[in-house]
């Protein structure tokens, strides 16, 4: 939500190292950071405090794992979740950048509505703008893939279809959604 911009950032982790010279503090080991409705989890988080008090951070996951990011959208019972090997959060612009094996999910209440995967995903919370880059940015990177749930039945989970028509139930969570 918009209110997250000026909420305090608190972080738990196994260890913390603060560097005066670069004004950065590095948290390592089971890092859990919360700021208003924002929740971030990962193996290592490097946080910089800007002079005007705004905060920006880079969250990286353990090798083979992916860091996790979640934020509630303004005035809507919806959450934005994202995962990637590296997550860069820019407090001032309220923008998050997911890099490598990036995935962005939008949940309505508990149900997954849309989902996008690609190499690099940039999401601006305020405007709701997002962009996903596949091959072009990162040569050899995967293609962009997005799944957009149907509007009408988005709220309730898709009930089992009448068996007669299609034996496959439309997948509400496609492969790759790692918990």
């Amino acid at each position: 939500e918009r209110a997250d911009r000026d909420r305090p950032l608190n972080i738990e982790s196994d260890a913390l190292r603060y560097e005066e010279r670069t004004q950065t503090s590095t948290f390592t080991g089971h890092v859990v950071a919360t700021k208003g409705t924002i929740v971030m989890r990962g193996a290592q988080l490097v946080v910089r405090q800007e002079p005007d008090g705004q905060v920006s951070g880079t969250l990286t996951a353990a090798p083979g794992e992916r860091a996790f990011f979640r934020q509630k959208r303004d005035g809507v019972d919806e959450f934005i979740e994202g995962e990637a090997e590296r997550i860069e959060y820019d407090g001032r612009a309220d923008r998050v950048r997911f890099v490598r094996r990036a995935e962005l999910r939008r949940l309505r209440g508990e149900t997954l509505a849309d989902q996008v995967t690609g190499e690099v995903i940039v999401y601006e919370h305020a405007s709701g703008q997002f962009s996903v880059d596949g091959v072009r940015e990162v040569p050899g990177g995967g293609r962009v893939r997005a799944v957009i749930a149907p509007r009408a039945a988005a709220s309730a989970p898709t009930s089992a279809l009448p068996a007669a028509t299609s034996p496959l139930r439309p997948a509400s969570a496609l492969g790759g959604a790692v918990r």
Partner: protein, 749 residues
């Protein structure tokens, strides 16, 4: 998804879901792929770089795709390719509303899955999921197989309305061109997009006929309703005038049938009106009651000569008008039948007409289980009518009552069946016989004892494991002598002497003659079954009769049979591999050393569109016929076997096929019936030329050459040269059968 719900489990299904219900369609997600994607969470997303959108059965590919989730609309630019239930559209720019399927496509080229149709147009307007309008269009089923699209035939139209659900295209302001030559200026014209029945023109046929001169027949098919349709075929004959042929077919839950008619007012050949009618009708009335009609009538005795193959009756010169009302209930069955023949007499080959049955009432009570007691009771009242000046016999009413009782001991390896039968026949003649009698009765019993064994062994022949059976059989028949020489013959004739008829207790079929018998028939049959699939590979049979007293009862004009040993019967069939089979039957007279009845037949069909069959049939003194039929691709001659596309699809484009049938009457040294045809399959059209010659008298014959152009997938099959080929050439296969529509997954992106 919440944990409480069971994970979605896949259920085995035999087929992928072809039709998608509206419910499934509305709930389906939309998948987007591309090199780059940017957009607004609730608004429009723009996909770039080999972008693709997939939703249920619609796939769109393009350089750039703009998908607005609010209106569920897609705008695609740059080498757009749309695949909708297998139909593929390509062009520079597309707009499509995914909910109702409406939108447009600029300069599209399109190809339909169902019939392989291809077209190019200025613009396509999608009305909904199934209907669209294509403007300034060229359409054909000739595929594009090069940079340039040069179809052999093409339909140019200002507009074509396409309805994929009804599988129909309707051209407006169109002209049909074949190799650049307009052949059918077609203002408003409907054509099929699938193989659903469709009203419309069928391919015309042109004939050069020795009797009718130049003939042009243009059939028109009327799909009146799902369960009845009609085909009208006006025919122009240069030397004779105009004829109209009609065929009406109907299929209802309780009744079905067809009516075939042909009308030719003032045929210049005979200077009179000509008509021919043939109706078949079957209906099931109340429980167990059925009505069947088979009425065939023609206007005059020369009809069979002038309209060859015109009437579907089996015998061109003998046309039955046959009505039967039959009832059956468990062991009881009864039938009322009225049968009247129209015999087409010709001065040079008169026919002694068979008797009409006006009417015939039959009833039967019969229980014949395969083992234990069997008994049948048969009653038959017939009123025989015919032209006495030709039959030289009085007409009569005949009543027959026959009762039969038997018992069968049956084990898998043996059977024994003694049977006792009594037959009482009463005649009432319209005119006195030679000896003055106007009534006659005959009753006599028959005793028969039929027994046989079945031996088996597993062995191998030519390296193939087989199970061989050896089946000896014996039949003893005793029937006392009753003088029947003076009795006229109404429905009786000698059975063909073969392995089936030798094991019966009366050499005559029909009730007017019951031969005095005191004979023993011995037979031996051996069969070879394939060890692993049980198919019958070989069957050989041998039988002969020992007569203990001579047979005095004969048909008029025959002499009593004194030989103690009958002719030897040999018969067999051979199907060692599914590719070919042979049948043979021989009735060999040991004294004269000559065969009285020989039937030889063989058929070789190694694959689709390849069949060669030949038959030789001799009935001593009556007929000797040689019959040959074939359908073979000519390309095989320069060993280009073509592709195996499955039955009903031909063997690939650019191929010649030869088709033919020769029926030669050896005794009369004449080629009685000759058909020779060539078919050229160009892939999207088939050209056909068929030469057909039918002997219609000692010195006269009618021959004709038929041409036909068939536009595959455009004008439906079904005109007469094909019917001639199908009826006369054994196992003739159409080059295009209406195949079940290909699944939308066969053209999957």
């Amino acid at each position: 998804q919440s944990e409480s719900e069971p994970a979605p489990a896949l259920r085995p299904s035999e087929a992928l879901a072809e039709p998608i219900s509206a419910e499934a369609r509305r709930q389906a997600p939309t998948f987007l792929f591309g090199d780059g994607l940017h957009g607004q969470i609730d608004g429009e997303s723009v996909l770039e770089g080999d972008a693709m959108l997939r939703r249920v059965d619609t796939v769109i590919r393009a350089e750039r795709l703009r998908y607005d989730r609010a209106t569920n609309t897609v705008r695609a630019e740059g080498d757009v390719r749309l695949n909708r239930y297998g139909n593929v559209y390509r062009g520079p720019e597309l707009e499509l509303h995914l909910d109702d399927g409406s939108g447009f496509f600029t300069q599209p080229s399109f190809s339909f899955l169902k019939n392989g149709g291809y077209g190019e147009a200025a613009r396509a307007e999608f009305i909904d999921d199934h209907r669209s309008q294509v403007h300034d269009v060229r359409y054909s089923t000739c595929r594009r197989n090069g940079p340039e699209w040069l179809p052999d035939w093409v339909l140019r139209a200002a507009r074509i309305d396409i309805d994929n659900e009804a599988e129909e295209g309707r051209a407006h302001g169109g002209v049909l061109e074949f190799k650049g030559v307009p052949i059918l200026p077609v203002p408003g014209f409907a054509f099929p997009l699938g193989d659903q029945r469709r009203s419309g023109f069928l391919p015309p046929t042109l004939d050069l006929d020795s009797v009718g001169g130049f003939t042009y027949a243009q059939p028109y098919y009327l799909n009146l309703a799902p369960n009845y349709d009609a085909t009208l075929t006006p025919t122009l004959m240069s030397r004779r005038g105009v004829a109209v042929g009609g065929e009406f077919r109907y299929l209802a839950p309780v009744a079905s049938g067809q009516v075939l008619g042909n009308l030719m007012p003032s045929d210049r050949l005979r200077g009179r009106d000509r008509w021919g009618l043939s109706t078949q009708h079957q209906a099931t009335l109340a429980a167990g009651t059925g009505l069947s009609l088979n009425l065939n009538r023609v206007s005059d005795a020369d009809y069979w000569r002038d309209f060859t193959r015109g009437i579907p009756a089996l015998t061109p010169r003998l046309l039955p008008a046959d009505g039967r009302l039959s009832w059956s209930q468990g062991a009881w069955s009864a039938q009322w039948r009225s049968l009247k023949w129209q015999t087409l007499q010709t001065p040079d080959a008169p026919i002694i007409p068979p008797y009409d049955r006006l009417p015939q009432l039959t009833a039967r009570y019969g229980l014949s289980p395969s083992r234990g007691w069997q008994y049948t009771l048969d009653a038959d009242y017939s009123r025989f009518r015919a032209d006495a000046t030709r039959t030289l016999q009085p007409n009569a009413e005949r009543s027959v009552l026959s009762a039969q009782i038997g018992y069968t001991w049956l084990t898998p390896g043996s059977f024994l069946t003694p049977t006792l039968r009594t037959n009482h026949t009463h005649y009432a003649f319209d005119a006195p016989l030679v000896d003055g009698r106007t009534r006659a009765t005959r009753s006599l019993p028959t005793f028969s004892l039929d027994g046989g064994l079945i031996f088996e062994r597993d062995t191998a022949y030519f390296g193939r494991a087989v199970r061989q059976t050896l089946e000896p059989r014996a039949l003893y028949v005793y029937t006392p002598y009753r003088d029947q020489q003076a009795l006229p013959v109404y429905d009786t004739a000698a059975k063909d002497f073969n392995l089936d008829s030798i094991f019966s207790d009366n050499p005559y079929v029909g009730s007017d003659r019951i031969a005095d018998e005191n004979l023993l028939t011995l037979g031996l049959v051996s069969r070879l079954y394939d060890a692993d699939n049980g198919g019958e590979l070989v069957r050989l049979g041998l039988a002969q009769r020992l007569r203990f007293s001579s047979q005095k009862v004969t048909l008029p004009g025959e002499t009593p049979i004194d030989e103690r040993l009958s002719d030897i019967l040999v018969g067999g069939s051979l199907q060692w591999s599914p590719r070919w089979r042979a049948d043979a039957g021989l009735q060999f007279n040991p004294k004269t050393g000559r065969s009285l009845r020989t039937t030889l037949g063989a058929r070789y069909s190694p694959g689709n569109y390849r069949v060669l069959s030949a038959g030789y049939r001799l009935k001593n003194g009556i007929s000797e016929q040689l019959d040959m039929g074939w359908q073979w691709p000519l390309n095989d001659l320069w060993n280009d076997p073509g592709l195996d596309l499955g039955p009903g699809r031909g063997l690939g484009a650019g191929r010649w096929y030869s088709v033919g049938r020769l029926n030669f009457s050896v005794m009369e040294h004449k080629l009685v019936d000759a058909i020779l045809g060539f078919e050229y399959d160009a892939g999207c059209w088939i050209g056909r030329v068929v030469f057909d010659r039918l002997q219609s008298g000692a010195a006269s014959s009618s021959s004709r050459i038929m041409f036909q152009l068939e536009l595959v997938g455009f004008s439906r099959l079904g005109s007469n040269p094909l019917k001639t080929l199908r009826d006369n050439i054994p196992r003739y296969q159409y080059l295009r059968e209406p195949a079940p529509p290909p699944s939308r997954f066969s053209n999957y992106d």
